[in-house]
Symmetry: C2
Subunit: 382 residues, 2 copies
Amino acid sequence: MKFKEKALKLHKKKKGKFEIKSKIKIKNKKLLSLAYSPGVAEPCKKIVEDKKNSYKYTARGNLIAIITDGTAVLGMGDIGAEAAMPVMEGKAILFKEFANVDAIPICLNTKNVDEIVKTIKLLEPSFGGINLEDISAPRCFEIEERLKKELNIPVFHDDQHGTAIVVLAGLINSLKIVKKNIKEIRIIISGAGAAGIAITKLLLAYGAKNIIVCDSKGIISKDRELNKSKREISKITNLKNEKGELKDAIKNADVFIGVSKGDILSGEDVKNMNRNSIVFALSNPNPEIKPKVAKENNAKIIATGRSDYPNQINNVLVFPGIFRGMLDYKIKNIDNKIKIAVAQAIAKSVKKLDRKHIIPDVFNKKVVRNIKEAMRNFKTVS
Amino acid sequence: MKFKEKALKLHKKKKGKFEIKSKIKIKNKKLLSLAYSPGVAEPCKKIVEDKKNSYKYTARGNLIAIITDGTAVLGMGDIGAEAAMPVMEGKAILFKEFANVDAIPICLNTKNVDEIVKTIKLLEPSFGGINLEDISAPRCFEIEERLKKELNIPVFHDDQHGTAIVVLAGLINSLKIVKKNIKEIRIIISGAGAAGIAITKLLLAYGAKNIIVCDSKGIISKDRELNKSKREISKITNLKNEKGELKDAIKNADVFIGVSKGDILSGEDVKNMNRNSIVFALSNPNPEIKPKVAKENNAKIIATGRSDYPNQINNVLVFPGIFRGMLDYKIKNIDNKIKIAVAQAIAKSVKKLDRKHIIPDVFNKKVVRNIKEAMRNFKTVS
């Protein structure tokens, strides 16, 4: 059977990928009366006394919602709420399997920013955290920003920050191998959506000085007409105000990071990069350049988003562990310091570092442990 | 340890009562690529083709949301969203344990009817059904009515219809024992909230002719100033337009059904009922009259909402089975015919009918089976 048919069959047979599990077997009237009426009134009363007790007496302390509007799902774009669910369910079981986080997938029947923000605010009392997922840019920026201000629980947009963190982890290790310094290299980022913008900001926070971001129209420079998020990028990157296309930008670059679309980079482009070039072609399922072509054109380190090539840059390395840490240490705001610490924790989880192993295997159990350990330093003292 | 302490300890130790369980163990890269990227795109595409495929390829066909605003929780009233969660979680595990229905507890941070309706509409694509719970009257009536019109998935307010169905089940069996006919008896209902109003309507649909409903101000009659739902009740009950208090109404009654508050019925009141009287004192934890007092005053059949007396009228006998049937047979609208069929299915599940066994034990496994069997006749043909 072909891969696609197998995937369909698996989903159909299982009728979705998650279910509810009771932590208490209600096997007699005694247990029924303790876990339900009348005993259940006791934890209710404790929470009336202090809302914080909801973390003690309900599932909330280990429970998050994965929320999407279905507008930017995998490579498929705006496929709608119903059709986004298989991805959200997939994410939910990865949260559980990798870090024992209970995650509820929720697909909202609206694309309106105000409605999304409002709905999530109304859902707040039920959850210990919110993972925003597959919401298209630039709406995702406003939604995250507003929710971070208005909610008392952590909010994390994985497509931005999860991706940025795992890219930084891969870059930290790559730079070790090629012996280059983040402050001295020229970095080209292709893609100015959620991922591209978050990667740019995190690399700047980590010390990068020379970043050029390209979108489908070429180099982002101050002179262009830009939306709010790209305008912000134009002020903190491309300091010499270069103009032109991706093929112009890439000349003499040390690092290429693609989070855009397949086959937009040529062998010639890679050849024009500096010696010991690093190429992260992360578009899925088609990378910005085929790894074979990049290699033939002297790329030293090549990473993709795919599991069938070496160096898979996958944010499954980030989101289970970072939510484990957020929940366990009651961390509300994931700032750049925490993101960098998490990227370093992932980078150091690699068993034996070489150019084909710049990032840990997704099944490497040290990753979640190391992330959690790193986040401990940012614990909220209450 | 005392009961209350035990209940608290159980909730604290387990940190809530439910968790997520993955249906697929992601034990290698092959499974990761089938259940998540890139394989997960295949079920997504099928749902883009036809939204109904969400029932085939996701958990939706077995997944409901239990939604409250925390305004009418058990006997505690308006305790707020966070504090309502232990009850919602309790319900969620009962759904799973009794009928293998996956239910997500959701407590909303609003009491505004429009906001509640709007939020549930936006949540619709994620669920196969909605169980409304512990929302105060008369708001609950409007919320349910609007959602039934505006959603394409079933909506069921358990405090109304679950309670009405289980009361009818108990009454069907009680009338068999005392050999009285529903059409000929005088029924007094104390309480005109969600439960009282739903019970009244269902008993009328079942054939009752003579019902008097009392609220805290006495008999509901046309001449009183009434809210919308009570005004409706005043037109279909109390046809002789009686006036007075509960103690006046109860004279020569055959059946008393209390869904109001503790200790409002005296022994004298029960003594004033007809021979072979039936007393359902369902207020929790304090019944409208103590069973012992009712018995001393010639009540033939006595039921309460409590597990420590015979004849516990508990809607845990209804909600797991009725949602099992709704999901399996794609029944969107639970009308009076279905409610009566379900009540009859519950009534016939009693092992050996006598005055101390008018209703099945909550652990009687035949109940869910019989309900499902009865609902099969109402299957939606698609």
